[in-house]
C-alpha cells in the first residue's frame, strides 16, 4: 500500500508540473473537481506559469482535504507529478520525506538515491500510440488515480468527462483507462516482486 493510502482521511497537497501546452492545469482542475464534486471534499487549485509560459515550465498546485482549506499554495507536496525535467529539477527537493513521486518516464530522468515512494509511466509514449500526444495528461491522471487512491476511479472518470472538450470523450476515457490499467499493473508487479514472483517461470 502506498503512503498516501495510509492517510486517506488527511490533507493532501499535490503539485503537477510540466510545460505549457501539456494540459497540466487541466489535469489539476480535473483532480480538484473530482475531489470536490465526486468525493464531497474541499479542494483548491493554484496555477503558476513561469514567465516563459508557452513551452516554458508551469505547474498546478492542488490541495484536497476533508476540512476547510486555509492556504492554497503548496510548497512541500505529498504527491509530486513531473511531466518535464525542469519541473522535476526545480521541485524534487521539496517533496515531503514520505511523499510520492510520479514521473512521465519519457520526459523525466530521475536522480539517484530517491527516498520517497516512486512511480513512473511512459505517458507521452502511450499518448503517441493513441494518436494524440496531448492526451498524456489524462493518461497520467488515470495512473495517479490507480497508484495513489487520493480520489476514486469513479469520481476521476466523471470529472474527466465533464472537463474535456465535447467530442473527445471517447479518446479521453480510453486514455484514462490506459493510465489506470498501467497503474494497477504496476501495483500488481510490485506485489508479485515482493512475493518473489518476478517472472512467469519462478
Amino acid at each position: 500500500m502506498t503512503d498516501s493510502q495510509n492517510h486517506q482521511q488527511g490533507k493532501k497537497e499535490i503539485i503537477i508540473t510540466g510545460f505549457g501546452g501539456q494540459g497540466i492545469v487541466l489535469a489539476g482542475i480535473i483532480l480538484g473537481k473530482a475531489a470536490a464534486i465526486g468525493e464531497h471534499m474541499e479542494s483548491t487549485l493554484v496555477q503558476s506559469y513561469g514567465p516563459e509560459s508557452r513551452g516554458g515550465s508551469c505547474n498546478a498546485q492542488v490541495v484536497i482535504s476533508r476540512e476547510m482549506i486555509h492556504y492554497p499554495y503548496v510548497s512541500h507536496p505529498d504527491i509530486l507529478v513531473c511531466m518535464s525535467q525542469s519541473g522535476y529539477d526545480k521541485l524534487i527537493d521539496q517533496i515531503k520525506e514520505k511523499g510520492t513521486l510520479i514521473i512521465d518516464q519519457d520526459l523525466v530522468r530521475p536522480g539517484r538515491g530517491l527516498t520517497c515512494d516512486f512511480f513512473s509511466i511512459p505517458a507521452t509514449g502511450m499518448a503517441e500510440a493513441l494518436g494524440r500526444v496531448m492526451i498524456a495528461n489524462i493518461i497520467m491522471l488515470g495512473f495517479l488515480t490507480a497508484v495513489t487512491n487520493v480520489i476514486s476511479m469513479d469520481a476521476a472518470q466523471k470529472s474527466v468527462l465533464e472537463s474535456v472538450p465535447k467530442g473527445t470523450e471517447k479518446l479521453n476515457t480510453t486514455a484514462f483507462q490506459k493510465g489506470h490499467d498501467y497503474g494497477l499493473a504496476t501495483l500488481k508487479g510490485r506485489q508479485k516482486k515482493a512475493a518473489g514472483q518476478a517472472g512467469a517461470m519462478s
Binding site: Y182, G189, A198, A200
Partner: protein, 527 residues
C-alpha cells in the same frame, strides 16, 4: 468375463517355434487369443498396434525374439520402443497401459510362453472390456457427381478465371512438385473426381491458404479441398495418411464416449488451477505428439501448454482444465473425416457448456481456429468466447509495467498458417515478438501472408516434396543468420524438426526452436 479379444502379433522366428510346440502338444492356448503371424516385431508400427484397439481388441500383445537373436538386427529394439510409446499413449487416452504387452521368447521356451499368455489373459480379464467400440470404416464406392457439384457450387469454384495465380503462389508447385491448384480445380469441375491424379493431389495440398490469399475470384481453395476430401473419404477413398494413419486413429478413438482420459497427469503441481473458474484452458493434443515422436524427433511441444498456463498464472488467471478434453478435431476435419470431427466437436462443446464456461483460452492455432471458426460453421453454436493466448497476452502486457529479459540470440519467426488465415490474430505474433529483447529479429524471405508452411497439415499427404519444402524453409531461416527459430504452432515444431533429422542435411538445417509462448514465459517479468 470371458468374452474378450486379444490380438497376438507373433514373430515368425523365435517365438513362433515356441508357439508351434504348444500347438503340436495340444496345450490349451486361451481362446480369446487371435494370433497373427508376422515377419518381424520391428515392423509392427505404432499405428498397427493402435489400430488393433481401434478395431475392437481388448488387449494386444507383441511377441518377438530376444535381444541379440533378432534375425534383422534391430527388430526387437524397435518393437520395444513402439510398444512403450503406444502404451504411454493409450495410458494417457485412458485405455490402460496394461492392455498392451511386449515380450520376447527363445524357440525352446514354450512353457514360459504358455505361462505368459495365460497371465496376459488374466490381466485383460481383470481390466474388463476396452472402452473403445469399433468404428465402421467407409465402404469403397465411387463418388457421386452430385455431391462434387454441390461442393463446387458451394465454394463458387466456377468463379475460377483460370488465371493461374494460385499455382504460381503454391509452395508445393514452387518446390517442383507436379501439382497445380488451378488444374485441380478445373479437373474437379470437369467431373474427373475419380482420375488417379485428382485422387492423389487432393491429399497433397497443405491447405496453407496462400492460393486463397492471391485468388482474384476468392475461391477458398483450402476449404474447397477439405470438402472434396470429405466426399472422397466418405466413399472409401485412400486418405494418404502419414504415419500409417496413427493420428487419425487416435483422434477417432477420442470419440468414444466412455473414455476417461488422463491427459493432464503430467502437469507440474505448482501450476495454479481453479476448477470453478469460468475461464477454461484448452490444451490440445501436444502431449500425445510428444510421446509419439520422443524417440525420433524429440520434440517438446507439451511445454507450450505448461508455459501458457504459467503465463496465465503470471497475470493472476487461474483457469479450469477440462478433464474430458478431447481432440478439437482439426486433423480429422482436414483429412476428410467430417463425421468423426462432428462427434468430437459436439462432445467438447457439450462438456464446456456443462461446466458453465464463459471463455476458452487456447495456445494452439489449430484448436483456436477449429473452436472459434469451424465449430460454428459446422452448425455447432458456442455459448462461450474463444481467445487465443496471444490476444490475452497482448492485452495484459499492453496494460504496462511489464518488462522482458534480454535474449542472447538472434531470432526469426515461422508463421502459423492457421493464424495467418484468420483476420483477428494474424498480426499478434509480430506485435508480441517486437516486445521481446533479442539481439535482433529478422524476418525470413517469405513471411506474413506469404510465409511458407511447415510442410504438412492434418497428417496427410506427406512425401518427398514436403521434405523439400521444409529444407527450403529452414534454409530461409538460416539465411537470416538467426540462432533461434520462434514458432507459433506445435505442428510447425514437429514437421520442421523432422527435416532436421535428415541424415545428410540434418546438420546444415538444424536450428534451435522455441514456441512464442515459451520465449515469452521465459523472459517476461514485472518492471
Amino acid at each position: 468375463m470371458d468374452d474378450f479379444k486379444i490380438i497376438l502379433f507373433l514373430c515368425n522366428w523365435g517365438p513362433h517355434t515356441a508357439f508351434q510346440t504348444l500347438q503340436d502338444n495340444g496345450s490349451e492356448i486361451p481362446d480369446q487369443i487371435s494370433m497373427i503371424r508376422i515377419p518381424c516385431t520391428g515392423r509392427i508400427s505404432k499405428s498397427l498396434l493402435f489400430r488393433a484397439f481401434e478395431m475392437g481388441a481388448d488387449g494386444v500383445v507383441l511377441l518377438g525374439c530376444q535381444p541379440g537373436t533378432c534375425r534383422y538386427g534391430s527388430g526387437t529394439a524397435t518393437a520395444r520402443e513402439n510398444t512403450e510409446d503406444t502404451r504411454d499413449i493409450i495410458g494417457m487416452l485412458g485405455l490402460g497401459k496394461e492392455r498392451l504387452g511386449h515380450a520376447t521368447f527363445l524357440p525352446d521356451e514354450s512353457d514360459l510362453l504358455l505361462q505368459f499368455l495365460n497371465d496376459f489373459c488374466d490381466q485383460i480379464r481383470s481390466l474388463g472390456p476396452s472402452p473403445l467400440l469399433p468404428i465402421p470404416m467407409p465402404e469403397s464406392e465411387s463418388v457421386s457427381r452430385e455431391s462434387v457439384a454441390e461442393i463446387v457450387s458451394y465454394h463458387d469454384a466456377f468463379a475460377c478465371q483460370d488465371c493461374g495465380k494460385c499455382s504460381s503462389a503454391c509452395p508445393l508447385a514452387l518446390i517442383g512438385k507436379p501439382f497445380s491448384p488451378r488444374e485441380l480445380v478445373n479437373s474437379i469441375i470437369a467431373g474427373n473426381i475419380d482420375s488417379p491424379s485428382v485422387n492423389k493431389d487432393i491429399w497433397s495440398c497443405l491447405t496453407c491458404g496462400l492460393c486463397y490469399d492471391r485468388c482474384p475470384s476468392a475461391v477458398n481453395f483450402p476449404e474447397f479441398i477439405r470438402d472434396i476430401r470429405h466426399v472422397v473419404r466418405k466413399n472409401g477413398g485412400n486418405a494418404r495418411e502419414a504415419h500409417g494413419g496413427f493420428f487419425q486413429s487416435l483422434m477417432r478413438a477420442m470419440t468414444w464416449p466412455g473414455l476417461k482420459t488422463q491427459r493432464w497427469d503430467w502437469l507440474p503441481k505448482d501450476v495454479d488451477l481453479d476448477a470453478k473458474s469460468k475461464i477454461l484452458f484448452f490444451g490440445g493434443c501436444a502431449p500425445y505428439f510428444d510421446i509419439f515422436f520422443r524417440n525420433h524427433l524429440n520434440v517438446e511441444t507439451t511445454n507450450i501448454i505448461e508455459d501458457s498456463l504459467r503465463l496465465l498464472n503470471f497475470f493472476d488467471i487461474k483457469p479450469a482444465l477440462f478433464k474430458d478434453e478431447r481432440c478439437c478435431g482439426h486433423d480429422l476435419l482436414w483429412s476428410g473425416d467430417e463425421e468423426n470431427f462432428l462427434k468430437l466437436a459436439k462432445m467438447n462443446v457439450d462438456s464446456i457448456h456443462n461446466l458453465g464456461i464463459e471463455e476458452v483460452i487456447t495456445a494452439c492455432p489449430e484448436c483456436y481456429r477449429t473452436l472459434a471458426h469451424d465449430y460454428p460453421k459446422h452448425g455447432i453454436p458456442l455459448n462461450f468466447k474463444v481467445t487465443h493466448i496471444y490476444e490475452l497476452l497482448e492485452k495484459e502486457i499492453g496494460k504496462g509495467a511489464i518488462d522482458f529479459k534480454k535474449i542472447d540470440k538472434k531470432i526469426t519467426f515461422q508463421d502459423s498458417c492457421r493464424l495467418n488465415w484468420l483476420e483477428k490474430p494474424a498480426d499478434l505474433p509480430r506485435k508480441l515478438i517486437r516486445r521481446l529483447k533479442p539481439i535482433r529479429f529478422r524476418e525470413m524471405q517469405n513471411n506474413g501472408s506469404a510465409a511458407i508452411c511447415c510442410g504438412n497439415c492434418a497428417w496427410t499427404g506427406c512425401d518427398a516434396f514436403s521434405k523439400a519444402l521444409q529444407v527450403k524453409r529452414l534454409r530461409q531461416a538460416h539465411d537470416t543468420e538467426s540462432e533461434l527459430l520462434v514458432t507459433a504452432c506445435p505442428k510447425c515444431q514437429i514437421h520442421l524438426r523432422c527435416a532436421m533429422e535428415d541424415p545428410f542435411l540434418g546438420e546444415e538445417l538444424n536450428m534451435e526452436m522455441i514456441d512464442l509462448t515459451g520465449i515469452i514465459a521465459k523472459t517476461i517479468c514485472w518492471e
